[in-house]
């Protein structure tokens, strides 16, 4: 039994891996062609920022950036490099894309995971409370709160937090990743990082928190009606045990599905939050890449988030087999 399940998982992974190759290829080609439609190129951007140019500088820049070749040639070169796991040089930052992304990835992951954990913890808890007290005042209050969180633009939530906690109370830093030049280590460093992380993570999590709360509530109410719950109740298990072990566990299936989708969204979707808080992550990097016409960089970030989405989908399928044994790992 255990072995066959492992076998199924392996099969699933292998199939996903094979399916992922054409998907990734499609994503790269689609985005490459899409970006060709954008007016101007990286050399124009450099000249624009430099405030001066000559025909010779432009030609030299284009030659260096490989922009002097035809579009198909550039696409071919990009795919060739990609096949050899080379992501190329960033036109804007003038350094290898891989290095650049690796520098920013931990920051993005930290922000993303913190925000998702916050959202999941408080969202599921709130949803469970709402479902347990469905129709009563606790449910109504939390429902309205969730709806409010769902309606607040992320950047505005961020700015509001800044006004309150940075400007008025002066408790938290409004910007950046750590206090530069403070040379902190150990606990002091962790505290500094945490102080910088709180506001971006909270403002990013509100929207997702609201979704998870509502999903958990709906799913729990749905599950509560099903036979195995009635059986559990009939067996005389306590209400709390039934709620947590049977209802909540099964209700987590839709929540984790949606959360999986959100991982992909968050890889590039924290652009606004990262901009508001000056958080040096992949979102702000991607944002800069668009305006710098830095296609090597942008394609790499899109590719990365696509791969993360694909992996997240697999992990969620596996999680489902664990949460709900009725779901087969097909």
């Amino acid at each position: 039994m255990a072995l066959s399940r492992t076998g199924r998982v392996a099969r699933r992974l292998r199939r996903t891996g094979l399916q992922a190759i054409p998907s990734v290829l499609g994503i790269v080609i689609f985005n490459f062609l899409l970006l060709q439609l954008a007016p101007g190129d990286a050399a124009d951007v450099i000249a624009g920022a430099s405030g001066a140019a000559t025909a010779e500088t432009m030609a030299a820049l284009r030659a260096q950036l490989g922009l002097d070749h035809s579009m198909l040639h550039q696409l071919g070169a990009y795919l060739w490099n990609l096949a050899h796991l080379r992501l190329g040089i960033s036109a804007h930052f003038n350094m290898p894309v891989g290095v650049l992304i690796l520098q920013r990835l931990p920051n993005t992951l930290l922000l993303m995971i913190t925000a998702l954990l916050l959202a999941l913890t408080f969202g599921i808890a709130a949803g469970a409370v709402m479902a347990t007290f469905a129709g009563r005042w606790a449910d109504r209050l939390l429902s309205i709160l969730a709806l409010l969180f769902y309606s607040v633009p992320g950047f505005w939530a961020g700015l509001t937090l800044i006004i309150i906690f940075s400007v008025r109370l002066q408790w938290l830093p409004s910007d950046g990743f750590t206090t530069v030049g403070a040379d902190l280590t150990g606990i002091a460093y962790a505290r500094d990082l945490l102080a910088h992380l709180v506001m971006p993570a909270v403002s990013l999590s509100l929207f997702f928190l609201a979704i998870y709360a509502r999903l958990t509530r709906a799913a729990m109410l749905e599950v509560a009606r099903q036979d195995f719950v009635r059986t559990a109740e009939a067996k005389g298990l306590s209400a709390f045990t039934v709620t947590v072990r049977h209802i909540l566990r099964n209700a987590l299936v839709p929540v984790s599905t949606v959360a999986g989708l959100h991982i992909g969204m968050l890889m590039g979707g924290s652009i606004v939050t990262e901009t508001v808080f000056g958080w040096p992550g992949l979102g702000s990097l991607a944002y800069e890449a668009v305006f710098a016409r830095d296609f090597n960089l942008l394609l790499a970030i899109v590719l990365l988030s696509a791969i993360v989405v694909i992996i997240a989908n697999v992990l969620i399928d596996l999680l489902h087999t664990w949460l709900d044994p009725r779901v087969e790992a097909i």
Binding site: G135, S151, W156, L159, L261, M265, G268, G269, T275
Partner: protein
């Protein structure tokens, strides 16, 4: 019977009532914008940085260039709602077309369209939106189109699932044996039955579109010829410390509008999917 029941459910629901009323007020405000403030809201009309209440002529104050914030809010409602609804229409059109084709015909067409949908879904949506707007040069029309283009995959998946399920039902099979054309079966038999979940999603789509437009404008990617709430927040952000009302007021306008839409959506959901509602 069914319809009046839905309406009754809606009216009985306090969320729907509050949301509907709020939405009505905002729509009225947008409709009356030219009557209330006939001049261009981007005109500099008074001394800059007047706080709300400082001058009765400018109840919500003026911004850093001496523009009337109240005029901006009223005219901004127009832009937000216009972009919200129009882009949702585009999104529905695309999403239903793709979803219906894929779900109805199945086979290779379904494979191809599903792949396309997945492709669109793997790109982080807001990043995708920014790329599209950078390509298209931001105007109200292009922003609307871009938001529509970015958001159709959700609808496509939803419609495809409904179509696939309904396709095997008896009444569709009956229509087939009667020799109805594909178009007639899809549009007259299946589509009306596939719509309820789409309708529920619509208000959320409008709300999301408004949020997306405001985020774009906030980042400076809005249409410079119109005043939008996001643009107002974007300019106000510069002076967050000294004049926080310039971000707070348009922000509140967005929250209220989106909240109203979500309340209505919630109520629609309860009405159309009663089994998930409050027992």
């Amino acid at each position: 019977m069914q319809r009046s029941g839905t309406l009754w459910l809606l009216l009985r629901n306090p969320n729907a009532l509050v949301g509907g009323l709020l939405l009505l007020v905002i729509v009225a405000m947008a409709a009356a914008a030219s009557l209330l403030y006939p001049d261009d809201p981007s005109d500099m009309v008074a001394q800059p940085f007047m706080w709300p209440g400082q001058d009765a002529a400018y109840p919500l104050g003026t911004d850093n260039m001496g523009r009337d914030v109240a005029a901006g809010i009223v005219h901004g409602a127009r832009i937000s709602l216009a972009i919200g609804f129009a882009s949702t229409a585009i999104c529905l059109l695309l999403g239903i077309a793709v979803g219906a084709l894929a779900g109805y015909f199945g086979g290779w067409l379904d494979d191809a369209l599903s792949r396309l949908t997945e492709l669109f879904q793997t790109i982080p949506p807001f990043l995708f939106l920014i790329v599209l707007v950078a390509i298209a040069t931001p105007t109200v029309a292009t922003i609307t189109l871009c938001i529509g283009v970015v958001s159709w995959p959700t609808i496509a998946r939803l419609v495809r699932a409904e179509f696939r399920a309904l396709r095997r039902r008896e009444f569709v099979q009956a229509a087939e044996t009667l020799g109805y054309s594909h178009a007639r079966i899809a549009l007259q038999e299946i589509l009306p039955n596939a719509l309820p979940p789409v309708i529920v999603t619509t208000s959320v789509l409008v709300a999301t579109a408004i949020l997306n437009e405001s985020a774009l404008s906030f980042l400076g990617l809005g249409d410079p010829n119109v005043v939008s709430w996001g643009t107002m927040i974007g300019t106000g952000r510069e002076v967050l410390r000294t004049a926080w009302y310039l971000t707070a007021i348009p922000g509140a306008a967005i929250v209220i509008t989106v909240l109203a839409l979500n309340l209505v959506g919630e109520a629609l959901n309860d009405a159309l999917n009663p089994r998930l509602g409050v027992e």
